[in-house]
Amino acid sequence: MSGDNMLAGRVWKFGDNINTDLMLPGPYLYQSAAAQAKAVFINNRPGWLEEMRQGDVIIGGFNYGMGSSRPAARSLRNCGVGFLLAETINGLFFRNSVNHGFRAFECPGVTRAFEEGDTAELSIEDWTATNRRTGQTLAVTPVPKMLLDMMLGGGILPLLEAQGLIAPKPLP
């Protein structure tokens, strides 16, 4: 795999209605973004952060990211998740994914097509996801270009920095 539009990673499966509080538990809202990234799934899947590797893939079910406006997508990006594929993605979580530069895509049928530990390949050019073990390929719902550019470009904040609208601040 090479190039920005082709990605691959080891699969971790999560179910339906994974809410933002599970990715970013309430008490961590008052801490730094770096500390928040060390709290992902600590209540529903303790130990996962130690097992996952940079570039791993989350596969979710329906309404992934339901709940609050908290920057859960930023925590997934910061803890090293390569991309997310889900049956459906909550609208507010998707906004935060685009705006924080986290790759999150809808892929109907993805829950059944992958087992935990499989390798998922994603092509953002062809809008497909492939299970390397089974060879099965699914269609990924394309993200409109404006939003995709923002997502792949690191989100809104770099744009605002470049335009002199907010003061620069290094990522955690």
Partner: protein, 421 residues
């Protein structure tokens, strides 16, 4: 092709023409509401330019009066920001304090036919005012405040037509619990409310229903404008506006009709708001430790009036804590004047200052391990109001007040016998 209310407002705010499901609309934001959580250091960035200070509103709400040093620091950051850019609509701790969505309603900051954003998920509350209002993230807020813009993916719309009138003792919360129980989540969809029965709902009732749209995972939640709404807004906001009604040939994903007269009080079981509603008879008698009425969904004057009606001349059960949190200090004062506060206090309720408080588990009645609560607020997720082992049932203010008296989940019907529908 005709447009729904959501499509019309987004089209208008993106410079005219039309929008349809699947489009991305970049729109002018009429009102950008920042809250205290926006100013926490993990999300806030030093803003160098504000697009239009008169379009920005700042409300400290989740953490007021400040319960922690971090909250106090966030308030300081917010005050300094308001001062630096001359933002006049600052709702600090004091007489103008309240939950952002309730303040927006009290003051009619939500302008019909326009776009409003806030970094809190229950921003759809302002949909009661025929406003395309959406909860967004921290970066969205920085973008809106510095450029006056926001982006939205246009979703399909589900339209609900109300007929009839609610029976006495049944409220907007029960309409919501019925919709959430029957139809579940509305991911990536807009929800629009109208029909001949809509105008029988008070503005406050519409606010409850609009606020709870966040729990349907809806994009936008918008009520049709009627005379009562237009009068309400004109009495509070001098700004000219143009409400948006749906086109007669608007295209809906689905159109559903609800007879308000057929509804009854419902309760959502713990841990999930949608697909989780049951009749009260199924849970009646469940012992509770705490009963709570408050939040952007149920801190209205109507909600306090109903609670007072239920507990008037009666006592909260021994061993049960009954916490009532008005949505704003203005609502608190109105309830005081109407006698509701005295009635609640006499019955044994604790009435707190206006804040998100117990609803978001931040302060003012946090739940301990294994405790049971019935709440008239926004969410019953595991751990939402305190310890993850606590169980949170959700009902209407009438159901919660009746349960506070019984010390167990109870049907409110007996307190409304003889009331006209």
């Amino acid at each position: 092709m005709g447009m729904t209310m959501t499509e019309k407002i987004l089209a208008r705010a993106s410079g005219g023409g039309t929008v349809k499901p699947g489009d991305v609309a970049v729109v002018d934001v009429e009102t950008a509401v920042l809250m205290d959580m926006s100013f926490l250091p993990a999300g806030w960035r030093d803003i160098l330019k504000v697009h239009a200070p008169n379009k920005v509103v700042i409300v400290f709400d989740h953490l007021v009066p400040a319960p922690t040093v971090q909250a106090a620091q966030a308030h300081r950051t917010g005050r300094a920001f308001a001062e630096r850019f001359g933002i006049e609509r600052l709702h600090d701790v004091g007489p103008d304090q309240g939950i952002a969505h309730a303040v927006v309603a009290d003051r009619a900051y939500a302008v019909p036919g326009t776009v409003l954003v806030n970094g809190d998920s229950h921003t759809c509350a302002a949909g009661a005012f025929n406003c395309a209002a959406r909860g967004v993230g921290g970066p969205d807020m920085l973008w809106a405040v510095t450029t006056g813009k926001a982006w939205f993916r246009v979703g399909e719309t589900v339209r609900y037509d109300f007929t009839g009138r609610l029976p006495a003792g049944v409220s907007a919360k029960d309409i919501f619990l019925s919709i959430a129980g029957t139809y579940g989540a509305h991911v990536n969809q807009n929800v629009e409310y109208g029909g001949p029965g809509m105008s029988t709902l008070s503005i406050n009732g519409r606010r409850t229903l609009a606020t709870m749209g966040a729990e349907l995972s809806a994009e936008f939640v918008i009520f049709e404008p009627d005379d009562a709404l237009l009068q309400y807004v004109r009495e509070r906001n001098q700004q000219p506006f143009e409400p948006a009604a749906p086109d007669p040939d608007a295209v809906y994903h689905e159109r559903r009709s609800i007879d308000l007269g057929s509804l009854e009080p419902l309760v959502a079981l713990p841990d999930a708001v949608v697909n989780n509603s049951v009749r009260i008879s199924q849970v009646a008698g469940q012992r509770i430790d705490q009963a709570f009425i408050g939040s952007c969904a149920n801190g209205t004057l109507d909600d306090l009036a109903v609670a007072a009606q239920v507990v008037a001349g009666r006592k909260v059960a021994r061993g049960t804590r009954f916490i009532v949190t008005p949505g704003t200090q203005a609502i608190y004062r109105a309830a005081l004047k109407a006698g509701y506060i005295e009635t609640l206090l006499e019955a044994g309720a604790v009435v707190t200052p206006a804040t998100c408080g117990a609803c978001s588990g931040g302060h003012m009645a946090v739940l301990g391990p294994d405790e049971v609560c019935i709440t008239a607020s926004t969410r019953n997720f595991k751990g939402r109001m305190g310890d993850p082992s606590a169980r949170i049932f959700m009902g209407s203010p009438a159901t919660v007040a009746a349960s506070a008296l019984a010390g167990a989940i109870a049907h409110p019907g007996e307190f409304f016998r003889g009331d006209a529908a």
